[in-house]
Protein backbone atom coordinates (compact mmCIF):
# COMPACT_ATOMS: atom_id res chain seq x y z
CA UNK A 1 0.00 0.00 0.00
CA UNK A 2 2.91 2.34 0.61
CA UNK A 3 3.94 2.26 -3.04
CA UNK A 4 0.93 4.35 -3.99
CA UNK A 5 1.84 7.01 -1.44
CA UNK A 6 5.31 7.42 -2.89
CA UNK A 7 4.01 7.52 -6.44
CA UNK A 8 1.42 10.17 -5.59
CA UNK A 9 4.07 12.25 -3.81
CA UNK A 10 6.30 12.01 -6.87
CA UNK A 11 3.41 12.98 -9.16
CA UNK A 12 2.65 16.04 -7.02
CA UNK A 13 6.30 17.09 -7.04
CA UNK A 14 6.45 16.65 -10.82
CA UNK A 15 3.37 18.82 -11.31
CA UNK A 16 4.80 21.54 -9.07
CA UNK A 17 7.95 21.38 -11.17
CA UNK A 18 6.00 21.77 -14.40
CA UNK A 19 4.10 24.73 -12.99
CA UNK A 20 7.33 26.44 -11.97
CA UNK A 21 8.96 25.64 -15.29
CA UNK A 22 6.18 27.25 -17.30
CA UNK A 23 5.10 30.14 -15.13
CA UNK A 24 8.24 31.57 -13.56
CA UNK A 25 10.13 34.40 -15.18
CA UNK A 26 13.50 34.16 -13.49
CA UNK A 27 15.87 31.86 -15.35
CA UNK A 28 17.41 30.42 -12.21
CA UNK A 29 13.99 29.52 -10.89
CA UNK A 30 13.38 27.65 -14.14
CA UNK A 31 16.56 25.65 -13.50
CA UNK A 32 15.36 24.89 -9.97
CA UNK A 33 12.05 23.64 -11.35
CA UNK A 34 13.91 21.30 -13.69
CA UNK A 35 15.77 19.93 -10.67
CA UNK A 36 12.44 19.37 -8.92
CA UNK A 37 11.13 17.38 -11.88
CA UNK A 38 14.27 15.26 -12.04
CA UNK A 39 13.90 14.52 -8.34
CA UNK A 40 10.30 13.45 -8.83
CA UNK A 41 11.41 10.98 -11.48
CA UNK A 42 14.10 9.70 -9.13
CA UNK A 43 11.55 9.19 -6.39
CA UNK A 44 9.42 7.13 -8.78
CA UNK A 45 12.40 5.00 -9.75
CA UNK A 46 13.37 4.36 -6.14
CA UNK A 47 9.82 3.44 -5.14
CA UNK A 48 9.55 0.94 -7.98
CA UNK A 49 12.93 -0.50 -7.16
CA UNK A 50 11.97 -1.04 -3.53
CA UNK A 51 8.52 -2.50 -4.04
CA UNK A 52 8.64 -4.27 -7.39
CA UNK A 53 12.29 -5.29 -7.69
CA UNK A 54 13.80 -5.48 -4.21
CA UNK A 55 16.36 -8.19 -4.91
CA UNK A 56 18.10 -6.76 -7.98
CA UNK A 57 17.76 -3.06 -7.34
CA UNK A 58 18.10 -1.73 -10.86
CA UNK A 59 15.98 1.30 -10.04
CA UNK A 60 18.67 2.57 -7.70
CA UNK A 61 21.26 2.21 -10.46
CA UNK A 62 19.08 4.30 -12.75
CA UNK A 63 18.58 6.85 -9.99
CA UNK A 64 22.35 7.23 -9.66
CA UNK A 65 22.60 7.81 -13.41
CA UNK A 66 19.84 10.41 -13.25
CA UNK A 67 21.67 12.19 -10.41
CA UNK A 68 24.82 12.28 -12.56
CA UNK A 69 23.01 13.72 -15.54
CA UNK A 70 21.26 16.27 -13.33
CA UNK A 71 24.57 17.49 -11.93
CA UNK A 72 25.98 17.93 -15.44
CA UNK A 73 22.79 19.67 -16.55
CA UNK A 74 22.91 22.11 -13.65
CA UNK A 75 26.53 23.05 -14.41
CA UNK A 76 25.97 23.63 -18.12
CA UNK A 77 22.63 25.36 -17.54
CA UNK A 78 24.11 27.84 -15.10
CA UNK A 79 26.98 28.51 -17.49
CA UNK A 80 24.47 29.26 -20.25
CA UNK A 81 22.53 31.53 -17.89
CA UNK A 82 25.69 33.44 -17.02
CA UNK A 83 26.59 33.81 -20.68
CA UNK A 84 23.14 35.09 -21.62
CA UNK A 85 23.12 37.42 -18.64
CA UNK A 86 26.42 38.87 -19.75
CA UNK A 87 25.09 39.50 -23.24
CA UNK A 88 21.55 40.59 -22.48
CA UNK A 89 21.94 42.06 -18.98
CA UNK A 90 18.70 40.55 -17.76
CA UNK A 91 17.40 37.32 -16.28
CA UNK A 92 13.83 37.74 -17.50
CA UNK A 93 12.57 34.80 -19.54
CA UNK A 94 10.22 37.07 -21.50
CA UNK A 95 13.12 39.05 -22.92
CA UNK A 96 15.07 36.07 -24.21
CA UNK A 97 13.94 36.13 -27.80
CA UNK A 98 17.15 34.76 -29.27
CA UNK A 99 15.46 31.91 -31.14
CA UNK A 100 12.36 33.86 -32.07
CA UNK A 101 11.70 35.59 -35.35
Amino acid sequence: MQLEYFLILAAALFCIGIYGLVSSRNVIRVLMSIELMLNAVNLNLMAFSNYLDPAEIKGQVFAVFVITIAAAEAAVGLAIVLSIYRNRDTVDMEQFNLLKW
Binding site: Q2, L3, E4, F6, L7, I8, L9, A11, A12, L13, F14, C15, I16, G17, I18, Y19, G20, V22, S23, V27, I28, R29, L31, M32, S33, E35, L36, N39, L43, M46, S49, N50, Y51, L52, P54, A55, I57, K58, Q60, A63, V64, F65, I67, T68, A70, A71, A74, A75, V76, L78, A79, V81, L82, S83, Y85, R86, D89, T90, V91, E94
Partner: protein, 202 residues
Amino acid sequence: MNLAEGVQIVSLGILGVLMLASALGVVLLSNIVYSAFLLAMVFASISGLYVLLNAGFVAAAQILVYVGAVNILILFGIMLVNKREDFKPVSNAWIGKIATAAVCAGLFTLLSSMVLATSWQLSTAAPAGEAAIEVIGQHFFSDFLLPFELASVLLLMALVGAIILARREYVPDDEPADQQKVLTLRERPRELVAAGSDTQES
Protein backbone atom coordinates in the same frame (compact mmCIF):
# COMPACT_ATOMS: atom_id res chain seq x y z
CA MET B 1 14.51 -0.72 7.41
CA ASN B 2 13.65 -2.26 10.72
CA LEU B 3 11.02 0.24 11.66
CA ALA B 4 7.48 -0.47 12.70
CA GLU B 5 4.72 0.16 10.22
CA GLY B 6 3.27 3.11 12.11
CA VAL B 7 6.63 4.83 12.40
CA GLN B 8 7.15 4.44 8.67
CA ILE B 9 3.74 5.90 7.86
CA VAL B 10 4.24 8.85 10.20
CA SER B 11 7.70 9.67 8.89
CA LEU B 12 6.46 9.28 5.32
CA GLY B 13 3.72 11.80 6.06
CA ILE B 14 6.05 14.29 7.71
CA LEU B 15 8.66 14.05 4.96
CA GLY B 16 6.05 14.25 2.22
CA VAL B 17 4.38 17.33 3.65
CA LEU B 18 7.76 18.97 4.20
CA MET B 19 8.81 18.15 0.64
CA LEU B 20 5.64 19.45 -1.00
CA ALA B 21 5.49 22.61 1.11
CA SER B 22 9.10 23.50 0.35
CA ALA B 23 8.60 22.73 -3.34
CA LEU B 24 5.64 25.09 -3.42
CA GLY B 25 7.83 27.66 -1.69
CA VAL B 26 10.53 27.19 -4.33
CA VAL B 27 8.06 27.89 -7.09
CA LEU B 28 5.90 30.57 -5.50
CA LEU B 29 8.13 32.75 -3.31
CA SER B 30 9.24 35.99 -4.84
CA ASN B 31 12.71 36.20 -3.30
CA ILE B 32 14.93 33.78 -5.17
CA VAL B 33 17.40 33.33 -2.31
CA TYR B 34 14.61 31.88 -0.18
CA SER B 35 13.77 29.61 -3.09
CA ALA B 36 17.34 28.33 -3.23
CA PHE B 37 17.42 27.51 0.47
CA LEU B 38 14.01 25.84 0.30
CA LEU B 39 15.34 23.77 -2.59
CA ALA B 40 17.93 22.36 -0.19
CA MET B 41 15.09 21.40 2.14
CA VAL B 42 13.29 19.62 -0.72
CA PHE B 43 16.44 17.66 -1.50
CA ALA B 44 17.00 16.74 2.14
CA SER B 45 13.46 15.47 2.60
CA ILE B 46 13.72 13.44 -0.60
CA SER B 47 16.86 11.92 0.86
CA GLY B 48 14.84 10.97 3.94
CA LEU B 49 12.27 9.32 1.69
CA TYR B 50 15.08 7.32 0.09
CA VAL B 51 16.10 6.09 3.53
CA LEU B 52 12.51 4.93 4.02
CA LEU B 53 12.82 3.08 0.72
CA ASN B 54 15.82 1.01 1.94
CA ALA B 55 18.29 2.92 -0.18
CA GLY B 56 20.96 4.32 2.07
CA PHE B 57 23.57 4.71 -0.62
CA VAL B 58 21.40 6.77 -2.92
CA ALA B 59 20.24 8.85 0.04
CA ALA B 60 23.86 9.70 0.81
CA ALA B 61 24.54 10.41 -2.86
CA GLN B 62 21.49 12.67 -2.94
CA ILE B 63 22.76 14.69 0.00
CA LEU B 64 26.28 14.88 -1.42
CA VAL B 65 25.41 15.72 -5.01
CA TYR B 66 22.26 17.77 -4.67
CA VAL B 67 22.60 19.62 -1.39
CA GLY B 68 26.37 19.79 -1.55
CA ALA B 69 26.96 20.51 -5.21
CA VAL B 70 23.90 21.47 -7.23
CA ASN B 71 22.37 23.70 -4.60
CA ILE B 72 25.65 25.48 -3.90
CA LEU B 73 26.08 25.93 -7.64
CA ILE B 74 22.63 27.49 -7.87
CA LEU B 75 23.45 29.80 -4.95
CA PHE B 76 26.63 30.88 -6.71
CA GLY B 77 24.58 31.45 -9.86
CA ILE B 78 22.19 33.68 -7.94
CA MET B 79 25.15 35.54 -6.46
CA LEU B 80 26.68 36.15 -9.88
CA VAL B 81 23.40 37.19 -11.46
CA ASN B 82 22.24 39.41 -8.61
CA LYS B 83 20.34 41.90 -10.61
CA ARG B 84 17.37 43.08 -8.65
CA GLU B 85 15.16 44.06 -11.48
CA ASP B 86 11.45 44.42 -11.46
CA PHE B 87 10.12 42.45 -14.37
CA LYS B 88 8.01 44.36 -16.79
CA PRO B 89 4.42 43.25 -16.36
CA VAL B 90 3.13 41.23 -19.24
CA SER B 91 -0.45 41.87 -20.19
CA ASN B 92 -2.83 39.06 -19.29
CA ALA B 93 -0.17 37.07 -17.45
CA TRP B 94 -2.78 35.66 -15.12
CA ILE B 95 -4.41 33.74 -17.97
CA GLY B 96 -1.18 31.86 -18.53
CA LYS B 97 -0.78 31.16 -14.83
CA ILE B 98 -4.31 29.91 -14.43
CA ALA B 99 -4.03 27.77 -17.55
CA THR B 100 -0.76 26.28 -16.33
CA ALA B 101 -2.21 25.57 -12.91
CA ALA B 102 -5.23 23.90 -14.50
CA VAL B 103 -3.04 21.75 -16.72
CA CYS B 104 -0.85 20.75 -13.77
CA ALA B 105 -3.85 19.92 -11.60
CA GLY B 106 -5.31 17.87 -14.42
CA LEU B 107 -2.05 16.02 -14.91
CA PHE B 108 -1.85 15.31 -11.21
CA THR B 109 -5.41 13.99 -11.16
CA LEU B 110 -4.68 11.78 -14.14
CA LEU B 111 -1.48 10.41 -12.65
CA SER B 112 -2.93 9.77 -9.20
CA SER B 113 -6.04 8.08 -10.56
CA MET B 114 -3.79 5.89 -12.71
CA VAL B 115 -1.63 5.05 -9.69
CA LEU B 116 -4.64 4.17 -7.57
CA ALA B 117 -6.38 2.18 -10.30
CA THR B 118 -3.44 0.00 -11.23
CA SER B 119 -2.98 -3.22 -9.33
CA TRP B 120 0.75 -3.28 -8.75
CA GLN B 121 2.34 -6.70 -8.60
CA LEU B 122 4.38 -6.26 -5.47
CA SER B 123 7.39 -8.51 -5.35
CA THR B 124 7.87 -10.84 -2.41
CA ALA B 125 11.56 -11.47 -2.97
CA ALA B 126 13.93 -10.87 -0.09
CA PRO B 127 15.10 -7.24 -0.20
CA ALA B 128 18.75 -6.50 -0.69
CA GLY B 129 18.80 -4.43 2.49
CA GLU B 130 22.26 -3.68 3.76
CA ALA B 131 23.92 -5.40 0.81
CA ALA B 132 22.36 -2.90 -1.59
CA ILE B 133 25.60 -1.06 -2.18
CA GLU B 134 27.33 -4.29 -3.27
CA VAL B 135 24.47 -5.07 -5.64
CA ILE B 136 24.70 -1.55 -7.10
CA GLY B 137 28.45 -1.95 -7.57
CA GLN B 138 28.01 -5.28 -9.31
CA HIS B 139 25.45 -3.72 -11.63
CA PHE B 140 27.80 -0.86 -12.41
CA PHE B 141 30.66 -3.11 -13.38
CA SER B 142 28.79 -5.84 -15.20
CA ASP B 143 25.60 -5.05 -17.05
CA PHE B 144 25.66 -1.26 -16.74
CA LEU B 145 29.35 -0.85 -17.52
CA LEU B 146 28.90 1.06 -20.78
CA PRO B 147 26.49 3.68 -19.35
CA PHE B 148 28.77 4.04 -16.34
CA GLU B 149 31.78 4.85 -18.50
CA LEU B 150 29.70 7.08 -20.75
CA ALA B 151 28.56 9.00 -17.68
CA SER B 152 32.17 9.76 -16.81
CA VAL B 153 32.81 11.03 -20.33
CA LEU B 154 29.64 13.11 -20.11
CA LEU B 155 30.75 14.66 -16.83
CA LEU B 156 34.08 15.59 -18.40
CA MET B 157 32.26 17.15 -21.35
CA ALA B 158 30.00 19.10 -19.02
CA LEU B 159 33.02 20.35 -17.07
CA VAL B 160 34.81 21.59 -20.18
CA GLY B 161 31.61 22.96 -21.69
CA ALA B 162 30.68 24.90 -18.58
CA ILE B 163 34.12 26.52 -18.47
CA ILE B 164 34.00 27.40 -22.16
CA LEU B 165 30.49 28.82 -21.93
CA ALA B 166 30.95 30.85 -18.79
CA ARG B 167 34.32 32.48 -19.44
CA ARG B 168 34.59 35.94 -20.87
CA GLU B 169 35.39 35.68 -24.54
CA TYR B 170 38.57 37.10 -25.88
CA VAL B 171 38.18 39.61 -28.63
CA PRO B 172 41.39 39.74 -30.67
CA ASP B 173 41.42 43.35 -31.73
CA ASP B 174 44.97 44.40 -30.92
CA GLU B 175 46.63 41.03 -30.91
CA PRO B 176 50.11 40.73 -32.41
CA ALA B 177 50.18 38.12 -35.13
CA ASP B 178 53.19 36.16 -33.95
CA GLN B 179 51.88 35.13 -30.55
CA GLN B 180 49.32 32.59 -31.67
CA LYS B 181 51.20 29.51 -30.49
CA VAL B 182 50.57 29.73 -26.79
CA LEU B 183 47.85 27.31 -25.83
CA THR B 184 45.93 29.26 -23.24
CA LEU B 185 42.31 30.18 -22.83
CA ARG B 186 42.60 33.91 -23.25
CA GLU B 187 39.98 36.01 -21.56
CA ARG B 188 38.93 39.56 -21.90
CA PRO B 189 40.38 41.47 -18.98
CA ARG B 190 37.78 42.08 -16.32
CA GLU B 191 36.55 45.59 -15.88
CA LEU B 192 37.90 46.61 -12.53
CA VAL B 193 35.16 47.65 -10.15
CA ALA B 194 36.13 49.48 -7.02
CA ALA B 195 35.02 47.89 -3.81
CA GLY B 196 31.83 49.36 -2.44
CA SER B 197 30.65 50.68 -5.76
CA ASP B 198 28.46 47.67 -6.48
CA THR B 199 25.57 49.03 -4.49
CA GLN B 200 24.71 51.57 -7.13
CA GLU B 201 24.56 49.06 -9.94
CA SER B 202 22.54 46.39 -8.27
